[in-house]
């Protein structure tokens, strides 16, 4: 028996080693050429409670999470109680016989302690899963060894032995578990989650300064970057608070280092004054906002898409900005690069808006074409605008040429006082000094807002998938993309005329890019991870097009294809 895709869930308490087991399995699968979609579900605690790691696997591209349950690795009894009712017909639950006494035809109570040292029982279980899935013992062993050599040197052999014991035990166990279809994907793909892709994207873009204050689900961007900072020679600093983090980034950017910060809703709230500062001083900065359910502390480890309007209008006063909303891990990488380029070109704050689901969701990502990469080189573009230099030279595009303090064009050392850089948060004259001349005010407002035209010319338009003029058109932004696409596929399979329109950038919006698509559809359905339909409202505001049906989700879990289909 073969299945097109399988959903494996590893569940248990925090602190039981669930993530280690899962990650080795994930990497093995990616290396074996499978597509995956990972959904991590955890609580705001370090030990205990209930966590799960769901791993959807297929040889065909999969883009969305699923509720299906083909194999549960239960690390505690609670997980069995929770998931047993959800088990699919051909599904199994794997559990240590010491952990659970549940007797059920679909529960495999494995004698882990008999097979190997109890300390390594997760590796034994991993061996069993690998065996059930039909993975090569060698490949999973190699990944496991690599992992433990790095993280717990000296334990590799024991873990590998346990793995082998588990693997072999399953071979003799009388179950008919569906096998994965052999994969045909070429090697060399990466295992990345959204946050790692953003971290790698930022480095690839040419970031030289990153500051942060820890906040779930953004923290792992910092953690990933911290691991590469020394080697890549960029500065990373944990600030005393978010206000400091973003002001540090502004300071670094002002002196020439492409800079980024990453946070979540509450931390971002503290940054909003400085968003406005960046807009006014025309200092580029990339701000990642990884959403989680609010208001306030909300559900700090869960997912939601409810900060779109907040981010779009953050900061007092009026100034240009761009907001990218990657729909998958690969887009996280590419749009981070784009965000840096746009910020640097238009000297303004640019946002990446993601969420916990995407931040933590591992995928198999095709190798990036690094040949195409041209990291920012601020010096190349830096140029003195006048004599003396005018920070806010009035131009047609609204973009004023920049130099950095202490440096003249092309980062040659400054050698005269006509190469000074003066920036001001007050309204200012072209030379950067504060002014109360109200006619200058008008020209400066207009100058800044003129940059919107340029920003529009750079817009990453929405992605349309499906037949033109469909009966049903799903509109998504950000991480709902995958589920919308799969839901549409399923409906199309059932003979429905259906398409999706997925926004990878929600600001600026260019109505001409998509209104005709909206109008051509019979029913337009927005799918958003929030309670009020923020993006649908925005579309109406910008285009007049009223999306009357919105599928909302706000229980902290990612939108799935089934969630959509149940509501259509």
């Amino acid at each position: 028996m073969e299945k097109l895709d399988l959903n494996v869930v590893i569940a248990g308490e925090a602190g039981q080693g669930l993530v280690t087991l899962s990650q080795i399995l994930t990497k093995t699968l990616v290396r074996a050429g499978y597509y995956i979609v990972v959904t991590q579900s955890y609580q705001s605690r370090i030990r205990g409670g209930h966590n799960s790691y769901a791993l959807r696997i297929s040889h065909r591209e999969v883009v969305a999470p699923t509720e299906a349950l083909d194999l549960l690795v239960a690390l505690d009894q609670n997980s069995i109680n929770l998931y047993l009712p959800e088990l699919s017909d051909h599904g199994f639950i794997l559990v240590d016989e010491k952990v659970s006494s549940t007797v059920h035809s679909r529960v495999i109570r494995a004698p882990l302690a008999d097979l190997a040292d109890d300390k390594f029982s997760n590796s034994t279980a991993l061996g069993m899963v690998a065996s059930l899935l039909g993975l090569h013992k060698d490949s999973v062993t190699r990944t496991l060894r690599e992992f433990f050599d790095k993280h717990a040197p000296g334990t590799s052999d024991h873990n590998a032995e346990s793995l082998a014991a588990g693997y072999d035990w399953i071979l003799n166990y009388p179950v008919k578990f569906p096998k994965l279809h052999p994969s045909t994907l070429p090697e060399g793909r990466l295992t990345l989650n959204g946050n790692e892709a953003i971290a790698l994207g930022s480095i690839s873009a040419g970031m030289k300064f990153f500051a942060f204050y820890p906040m779930t689900p953004a923290t792992s961007i910092a953690t990933t970057l911290a691991g590469h900072a020394a080697q890549m020679e960029f500065v990373i600093e944990q600030a005393e608070d978010e206000i400091s983090a973003v002001n540090m980034a502004v300071g670094a950017s002002f002196t020439g280092a492409p800079a980024m910060v990453a946070t979540s809703g509450g931390g971002f709230a503290l940054m909003t004054e400085t968003v406005s500062l960046a807009g006014m001083t025309e200092t580029p900065v990339v701000i990642v906002v990884a959403q989680r359910p609010g208001p306030s502390t909300g559900l700090p480890t869960r997912t939601e898409q409810s900060d779109l309007e907040f981010v779009l209008h953050s900061g007092h006063g009026e100034f240009p900005r761009a907001i990218f909303t990657p729909g998958d891990v690969e887009q996280c990488f590419h749009l981070t690069i784009k965000a840096f380029q746009v910020a640097q070109k238009y000297n303004t704050p640019v946002f990446l808006l993601t969420d916990q689901f995407l931040a933590d969701s591992y995928r198999s990502v095709g190798p990036f074409d690094l040949g195409q990469l041209s990291p920012l080189n601020p010096c190349l573009d830096s140029c003195v605008s006048a004599n003396p230099h005018l920070t806010y030279l009035l131009t047609e595009s609204g973009i004023s040429p920049r130099i950095f303090p202490g440096m003249a064009s092309q980062c040659v050392r400054a050698s005269s006082s006509s190469e000074l850089v003066i920036a001001d948060s007050d309204e200012h004259t072209q030379d950067g000094h504060l002014t109360e001349d109200l006619s200058v005010r008008i020209s400066m407002v207009e100058k800044r807002l003129r940059k919107i035209d340029g920003l529009k010319s750079e817009v990453v338009g929405p992605e349309f998938i499906g037949t033109a003029g469909p009966e049903t058109l799903f509109v998504s932004w950000g991480s709902s993309r995958g589920s919308v696409i799969e839901a549409a596929d399923i409906l199309a399979g059932r003979g429905r005329s259906v398409a999706t329109l997925n926004f990878l950038q929600v600001w600026p919006l260019i109505p001409e890019n998509f209104v005709s698509i909206l109008e051509a559809a019979k029913d337009v359905v927005a799918v958003e991870g929030n309670a009020t339909g923020q993006f649908a409202r925005l579309i109406r505001r910008e285009t007049g097009f009223h999306i009357k049906k919105v599928i909302h989700r706000f229980d902290g879990l990612p939108i799935t294809p089934k969630y959509i289909l149940d509501r259509i």
Partner: protein, 283 residues
């Protein structure tokens, strides 16, 4: 050789008689004395009367948000350690809105200089109490007088082992100028808290009030002795010590990033080769 003219001569928006005028002059003299070219200096300021000071100097300037100049300076200095970074702002900016950054900056110990124009009042917003206002200080917004105990920045800086801690007085501009000079030349985080009369809103701590109380610390004072420094720093009232209260040779934050020695970050863009290697960790 730099001369003072290179730092320009601007009309200011300050009140006549305000202590800020002398601080500005002392600062210019210190810059000239240290031989710094205007284009190698970066001023960072916040919002307030004090924060306007760098607008009246011909130099690089980032005039940011009220209370947030220290974080901006931190980012700026780390991105280009060749710059002489001077933060100039008020007591409200640094000890009020920006109090948390003051603590963090002392702990980090970057090689930057912080000059606080300490008029014990919020000048620009028309005379509310500041963290350094004395108990009982009456303002329109504190008609019953200030209730909180004043913040002694010098004392707290010493208690936190700040690398360089000094107090000056705008009424002694030559002395102040040498303090600023030493602060700039000191390698590490340097605080110069400058007592400054606000003629418009502080009718208590006037020029005369300060002048009567301020004395320049004895020549034989050992500013490297922390115990002595703590005692000296706690002096406030009838006698207020001026001078370098404390200094030490703590290691400097930016030295922990060895690659910063290669010059400004802007000048070492990311190399594609190195990026490719990175990706291998994720295969």
């Amino acid at each position: 050789m730099v001369n003072i003219a290179e730092y320009g001569d601007y009309e200011t928006a300050w009140c006549p008689g305000c202590g800020n005028h002398s601080i500005l002059l002392a600062l210019k003299n210190a810059l000239v004395a240290t031989g710094l070219e205007p284009y190698n200096v970066l001023f960072i300021s916040g919002i307030g009367q004090a924060a306007k000071a760098p607008h009246y100097l011909n130099s690089n300037l980032f005039n940011g948000l009220h209370g947030r100049s220290l974080p901006v300076a931190t980012g700026a200095k780390l991105s280009n350690t060749e710059l002489t970074v001077i933060v100039e702002s008020g007591d409200g900016c640094n000890y009020g809105e920006g109090g948390n950054h003051f603590l963090a900056a002392i702990r980090r110990n970057l090689n930057i200089t912080l000059i606080v124009h300490d008029n014990q009042v919020y000048g620009l917003t028309k005379g509310q109490a500041s963290p350094t206002s004395e108990q009982g200080f009456v303002t329109k917004n504190q008609p019953e007088g200030v209730f909180s105990q004043p913040f002694n920045p010098v004392e707290i800086a010493v208690a936190m082992n700040a690398s360089f801690v000094a107090r000056g007085f705008s009424g002694k501009p030559d002395h102040l100028s040498t303090l600023i000079q030493s602060a700039i030349q000191h390698r590490g985080f340097s605080l110069v808290d400058v007592l400054q009369p606000c003629v418009s809103f502080n009718k208590v701590n006037t020029f005369g009030w300060y002048n009567q109380r301020c004395y320049i610390i004895e020549d034989d004072y050992d500013s490297t002795n922390r115990d002595m420094a703590l005692r000296k720093a706690s002096e406030w009232g009838d006698r207020i010590p001026l001078g370098i209260i404390y200094q030490n040779r703590r290691s400097v934050f930016e030295d922990r990033f060895p690659f910063l020695g290669n010059g400004p970050l802007a000048k070492s863009p990311v190399e594609v080769d190195r990026v490719s290697q990175l990706f291998d960790c994720y295969r």
